[in-house]
Symmetry: C2
Subunit: 363 residues, 2 copies
């Protein structure tokens, strides 16, 4: 099987530009929607989901976490997808910048602030104040323009618990049929719960027909990460950089955001994800992208079934699937000339470091 499978469009110009080198930008944020019990597994308890983006960012940049006193994996050894991202970044020697789109817990690393705010529970129908949305959007575009002046390929990943639920509500608000197409970090997708939450959000936001303005849709039922990634992508793509949205069905929301604000930039935009995400039968990323704008879509086949640890093999059973840009950065590593075999060796080595508990807090 090929390491990279192209599902839609022509991915060759992205591969070529990524092959020259890339900058990885991780956009983190929180939405209080993650406090709804059962909506996400990205955190042992609902209130701990607010720590996950900061912990992911710290692990990615430092190789250890500061905001949590433990390693970023479940007690039974299932690691954060940031493990994959970090291994691919190390292998390629690429630069990483972390962007705070709006978080309740800030990581203790250098971080680019867009002066956004954490998202409220979308069930309120007012996720982020409109003036904050406008400010963070302006700042995101400026950042994207400046990043594109430094690197011809920008890979953008996300970490936001409950992000597929907010992405569902956002997509429906913009007129897309996303009800049965969103993926989940859990092997058992809590789809009915997501739909209930999204419906209540749309009702309380008074959205009964499609909106035209994605900034308005973010403000009512979206989250800070859709906003920030969309803004950075628009700024970077306008400057001519190739932008790879590194993520799963949440990136469909980003794609819609971009399309409705600056359609012309889509020629520089593609989506990169994992085979695990594409294989999720409870979701339909390909269908979503087709419905929104048929940009190139590629996935990487990491295939952990031969990994000698159960925590890693769990990815083959639908655990996590994608996140922190794992799929897109792996694709970028392949574009840089590394093999899947080599990447998996590094992942395995880094995972064993986590198992020894070295990933814990340092003070």
């Amino acid at each position: 099987m090929e390491a990279v499978t192209v599902h839609l469009g022509d991915f060759s110009s992205h591969m070529r530009e990524l092959g020259k080198g890339f900058l990885f930008t991780l956009v983190i944020g929180t939405t209080d929607t993650s406090l709804v019990p059962g909506i996400t597994i990205a955190g042992a308890k609902p209130e701990l989901t607010h720590y996950t983006p900061a912990a992911d960012a710290e692990y990615l940049v430092l190789g250890r976490c500061r905001v949590i006193p433990t390693v970023p994996m479940t007690p039974d050894g299932k690691p954060t997808p940031a493990l994959i991202t970090r291994s691919a970044i190390k292998l390629t020697g690429s630069g990483v910048l972390v962007v705070n789109a709006g978080t309740r817990v800030r990581p203790n690393i250098p971080i680019i602030d867009l002066q956004g705010e954490p998202g409220r529970d979308i069930k309120t129908g007012l996720a982020i104040n409109r003036n904050v949305v406008n400010r963070a959007f302006d700042n995101g575009v400026i950042l994207g323009e400046n990043l594109a002046r430094v690197s011809g390929a920008i890979v953008i990943g996300e970490s936001i618990p409950a992000g597929t639920t907010t992405a569902m509500a956002f997509l429906v608000a913009m007129g897309y049929d996303a009800w049965n197409k969103m993926s989940s970090a859990s092997p058992v997708n809590p789809r009915d719960l997501k739909i209930t939450v999204a419906r209540e959000a749309l009702k309380n936001a008074g959205i009964d027909k499609p909106l035209e303005d994605p900034l308005e849709a973010v403000s009512r039922v979206g989250d800070p990460v859709i906003l920030a990634i969309g803004a950075i992508a628009i700024g970077a793509a306008r400057q001519g950089a190739k932008v790879l949205l590194a993520g799963g069905t949440q990136m469909a929301a980003v794609l819609a955001f971009i399309k409705h604000l600056d359609k012309g930039t889509l020629s520089n935009v593609a989506i990169g994800t994992t085979e695990w995400l594409i294989g999720d039968r409870t979701a339909d990323l390909v269908g979503l992208i087709r419905e929104i704008a048929e940009v190139p879509l590629a996935s990487v086949n990491l295939s952990f079934s031969d990994m000698p640890h159960e925590g890693l093999r769990a990815y083959e059973e639908g655990f996590v699937k994608e996140g922190v840009g794992a799929g897109g950065v792996s694709i970028a590593a392949i574009a840089r000339g590394f093999t899947i075999k080599r990447l998996k060796e590094v992942i395995l080595g880094d995972y064993r470091v986590l198992l020894r508990g070295v990933g814990g807090i340092d003070h």
Copy 2:
């Protein structure tokens, strides 16, 4: 006269790397030392000096200021040196990232936060708490490493009112004879006042013999900008990037900071400034660099004497001289193949926009 004059060392490898493209990083910060009446002209009144770094950063990135309701120049038309920096950045199409090292007023643009803090008046003998110094240093090194993975040439500039006074105190604390060598943004260098402030700082900090640890010296009598630029430079130079410290005598303090923490990185470090700074007879940058570590030192001869506006010609009379990386970024523009003539045309055009008041606040 040559556009770029090399005063010390071999500047050719820096010119070569800058010629391939560069990233400009502006590090902003404040020290309450700027509230000492008469110590700086970077602000109409002492308390307004806290707005200057934020206004410089906003003007550089946006072409207008948000934290102040006016254009960034004196009432009689003398502009911020950020004018020169912005013109050179526009001309070269380079990327800009702004780093907050510790400021009392934050700019309303995307900004990288190192979790530093504004500096206290150094007369207290405790400029920045030591744990904050350590944290900002760690974050600065991480940032520098990541920037170097994206660009082979990093130009770093500063904006911090009263920065030459804190740099003087820092250099003396580290054992260098800086008493009569520091420049000033004013045509009339308030040297005696600076010396009085630095002496009181050293006395209250209990420093009667040279310190060996630059982090300790920053904590007692330094400022957040020396710390952050030093940290970023160390991180970037360790990764093999060519680092150009873009500034005047404050960069001598940064050089000492680097030398005492990671001397091996100095082979990748050079200083770039303006001819106005080199020509300051109340200062001695060349002598300072010789005393600390003889890295390459180059200056650009912008020569504003033929400019058709008094506010610009004031630079020839010793007003401002340097700041916001103006000299170093101009040198980088020349390395990129642009002529002084072309750069000055852009500066003149941008200055006329300022005169029309377009640089004012926008909401």
